[in-house]
Symmetry: C2
């Protein structure tokens, strides 16, 4: 492609509404343009990367035995009513009426439609297993669309659905998809983790998220430094170390702590480590109950673990009035000594002696507090967030903490949708059975955005070769120099002939501005064609990621560059 | 692909709501399934044909220098308000509100969105010309969706938009697209005509429709038997032959024609050819005017030509009361002799002598009517529909009449959208100029459906090789015979290795039912692997279209079949 004939305008300024680096760079590199909040056009350069990710996905889905079809974006309400999601799904489901006042929605996901297809087409166990997928534009009416393609409203997704005769079959299908997803993200050239995840409102019994690692990621994840264990931090299990409190060396003693409320304030005031404090949280559940939770002073509560223990959906810190009623003191001075009501504590608290807690009295704390002697706990449980260095729940390794961006999600759905819509089959004995399902999604645009979050520097994008919109950029230093022009055109033709995807920068622009654009676009290899190089009979080949430059004899450039592209694609 | 693992159920019965043969066959062959009125899922087999058409389109669009991008399906009202189409477009534009009560529509076409992109990206004449296209699902809320993919509501379309500095540039862009479209439909293996067409409500100055020829087509088109001229019958021009009436041989004479009203009735009653009658139509325009139009008795009025002459949008036959007021007689007895008011006549009427017309009196007609002597006409013009045998308006050839299905449409848009949305550029002199546009659409699903309308027989579809979902079907006559099974598997592998797209019918079904399915699916070549053939060391290769069968030595089958596929694709 000739740059001068392409629709590709780079921006010098970062758009004001672009908060994250992938959004900023995709806008600046002319990959996407906003049409409305959360709704983008993919300009030619952006579409090229999107299509590459799609192609890798298709190849791996087909290799795993999945079959491609295409469902409509406009879906009749009836199907969503059958699954009861018409009522349950929030405002993210964009509902509307057609000209005949019939109810429809824009599909945010297609469990209902695919289950409807399968219930009509599948009669016998002989037709199973099946795995059906599509690559399609979906719509979710996010209340706060942002971060460009990361959280858009209209977005391209690959969604697959597996259908099996029983749970064992569904497990096999799930594992196949899990492995296919690993291959997909490996082939995209991304560093990622597959982590255990919550199943959320889509239903189902187990799930993994595929997370592209990036410091800017929205999600915190943990992974073991020696085994395959990885999980969303919300889901990361911590074992009970089984330790009990050592023999205390101090007696319980009340000390004045005027205006010292937070862990940090009290620790500093009493000159002890925060880990010596017992954090006492007075909480209210969505069921209206009050509960006290104890954690080591340097730990954070994991809401999801507590909700699971208390069988509730949400917890929040109690208001000041409730704190005063429960503890008899203003907030900041709560502690378990003498406290009434249900007390829950993280496993670690059981091992604490000579600790510091609030005294349930304004401006006062206790020192010398020992669990078991000075207070008792109803239930010890795993209630805190995992941190780097925590022991792995599966082996003797230690956990590492990463930030990541969710790009894929695999779910075991069980029979939730097949039951609701009546997707059944006749087994070998002629008995009607309900189909077991799984669903498997990849955000295509999100994968490109996550790749950019993971691969960029101050100068712009650094595309991994497999998803780069172009593999090579040939920069004509001076297009008005006939010799430069001819040499660049020849190299362009030679590379195209070798199957390399080349952008020929034939614009009448200053060389510095062309180099800046090449860096911004993130094309993996750049060849500079200028008068100086031609005089020396060699052209400069620069690698975008490492910045290394090398002079390659003119006659060899096309072959050397083509070989590098092939080798980078082979991994 | 193995049939036993594929999602492909053929239907024996024709679905009751499928009126046209392509709809019937696409349903029966398991290519599509209806989700709601005019909304279909493309099952795997159907999607394969769709993708092949898409791929041919992409290759030819790229070859013509067009650049692919992708615009959203959900479009904000603001852009449509700028072009004023938000108000003008009928209920086919599906409008809705998002969760924040902002107005949106589902894009039925994307002139507004692309013009918005271009006005933001293009500043200088140096960036032009540009031709941008996408392949995308669109939505039109048809009041009466029908005929399967022919007139759906959600449908896949390739839409392209060209941008040029002036009208001459726009003409070049238009010609390039015209040629690209010819190549696309040729490469799809279809018989078609590119015809001059009306521009309709999309605006613009000139347009061609690409019509796939099929007896079941909705549109009538004409083409010259010796030059390239072709047009929609509504648009087909007929020249003034310049003839005047010969010397009359009869005097004007009133005859009784009791209850004889129609051309056919009067001609039969008076024992003359219908061509001897002058058809007299009393019409009302949408402006409320009354006009009388004369045609030769065997001709049909072309409304569009008359509207152009009268500068109105619509004409309809006047009601009985108006007819009585204008002619003084009940309808069925009107004629130009002695008639008041404006009289328009087709060129042919000028050459009529000794003709028959109504006498403007109940149950009476005149014979011996001669134009010029017995009545006068305000304007002679081309007012009738063309018929087979009419002279070509461009050369000495004669017109042929066909029925066709519109699958593509190219328009010169001029500056309608660029003016409305302010898409301008600075010319070489630094002056701001408005961009000239063209738009170019192909219905992808419609092309597949039209191909089936054109290519089928009593047994099913007959796919042209380039858009066949599979190129070859290998029919295992008895999958329980180990030798048959091994030979079929080997042939399957050998064909795949040669890049042939094969469906291996490995189902445990009766051979007759497998052959029936193969015919229904329309796969161009079938190889039958059975015990008898294996014994003789040869396999039967059958061509779907001609039905010819041939025994090919076992060792050569893969190569012979692969060669036939290659040769069919090469055209």
């Amino acid at each position: 492609m000739r740059y001068s004939q392409y629709l590709l305008n780079t921006l010098k300024e970062t758009p004001a509404d672009a908060e994250v680096v992938s959004h900023q760079l995709m806008m600046r590199a002319g990959m996407i343009r906003k049409i409305a909040a959360g709704i983008y056009s993919y300009l030619p350069l952006g579409l090229r990367s999107i299509r590459k990710v799609e192609q890798i996905i298709r190849e791996e889905m087909n290799r795993a035995g999945a079959i491609e079809l295409l469902m409509p974006m406009v879906v009749p309400a009836e199907l969503w009513q059958e699954s009861t999601r018409w009522e349950q799904y929030g405002k993210e489901l964009l509902r509307f009426k057609d000209r005949k006042e019939a109810d429809f929605c824009l599909g945010p996901t297609h469990e209902e439609v695919i289950t409807d297809i399968v219930r009509r087409e599948v009669r016998s166990y002989r037709q199973l297993p099946l795995n059906l997928y599509q690559v399609q534009s979906k719509f979710r009416d996010e209340i706060r669309p942002r971060f460009g393609l990361m959280r858009g409203r209209e977005f391209i997704m690959k969604d697959a659905y597996s259908f099996d005769v029983d749970e064992a079959g569904a497990d096999v299908a799930y594992d196949k998809m899990y492995q296919a997803y690993r291959r997909i993200f490996e082939r995209c050239g991304l560093r990622f983790r597959a982590v255990e995840a919550d199943t959320g409102n889509i239903g189902g019994s187990s799930s993994h998220e595929f997370m592209v690692l990036a410091d800017s990621g929205e999600d915190a994840i943990v992974s073991c430094d020696s085994c395959e264990y990885a999980a969303n931090v919300e889901k990361a299990e911590l074992r009970d170390a089984g330790a009990t409190a050592p023999a205390p060396t101090e007696a319980l003693s009340k000390v004045a702590t005027p205006n010292q409320r937070t862990i940090e304030e009290v620790a500093a005031f009493l000159k002890v480590e925060p880990a010596r404090l017992i954090k006492t949280l007075i909480l209210r559940t969505d069921g209206g109950e009050t509960a006290t939770v104890l954690l080591r002073g340097d730990r954070e509560l994991n809401d999801i673990k507590l909700c699971r223990l208390l069988c509730c959906n949400e917890v929040e810190l109690a208001d000041e009035e409730t704190v005063r009623r429960v503890t008899g003191a203003p907030s900041g001075f709560a502690g378990p000594v003498g406290l009434k009501g249900r007390i829950f504590a993280d496993f670690e608290v059981r091992a604490m002696a000579d600790a510091v807690t609030g005294a349930n009295e304004a401006d006062a704390h206790y020192t010398g507090v020992t669990c078991g002697r000075d207070f008792t706990v109803e239930t010890f449980a795993d209630l805190r967030e995992a941190v780097a260095g925590d022991p792995c729940p599966r082996c003797a390794g230690k956990l590492e903490v990463w930030r990541g961006i969710e790009v894929g999600h695999v779910f075991k759905l069980g029979t939730k949708y097949s039951q609701a819509l009546g997707a059944t089959f006749l087994d070998a004995q002629g008995q009607e059975q309900v189909i077991f399902m799984g669903c498997y999604g990849i955000g295509v645009g999100r994968t490109v955005a996550a790749a950019i979050e993971q691969n960029n520097d101050a100068n712009g994008i650094i595309f991994p070769m497999p998803i780069a919109p172009f593999q090579v950029i040939v920069t004509m230093v001076n297009p008005n120099d006939a010799e430069v022009c001819a040499a660049a055109e020849k190299l362009y033709a030679d590379l195209l002939e070798r199957g390399v995807e080349v952008l020929l920068d034939d614009r009448d622009e200053r060389p510095g501005s062309k180099f800046k654009d090449a860096d911004l676009l993130g094309i993996p290899l750049r060849v500079t064609v200028g008068a100086r190089g031609l005089k020396d009979g060699a052209l400069e080949v620069q690698e975008r990621r490492s910045g290394t430059r090398e002079m390659v004899p003119l006659a060899e450039v096309a072959e050397v560059v083509a070989a590098r592209v092939r080798s980078a694609l082979a991994g």
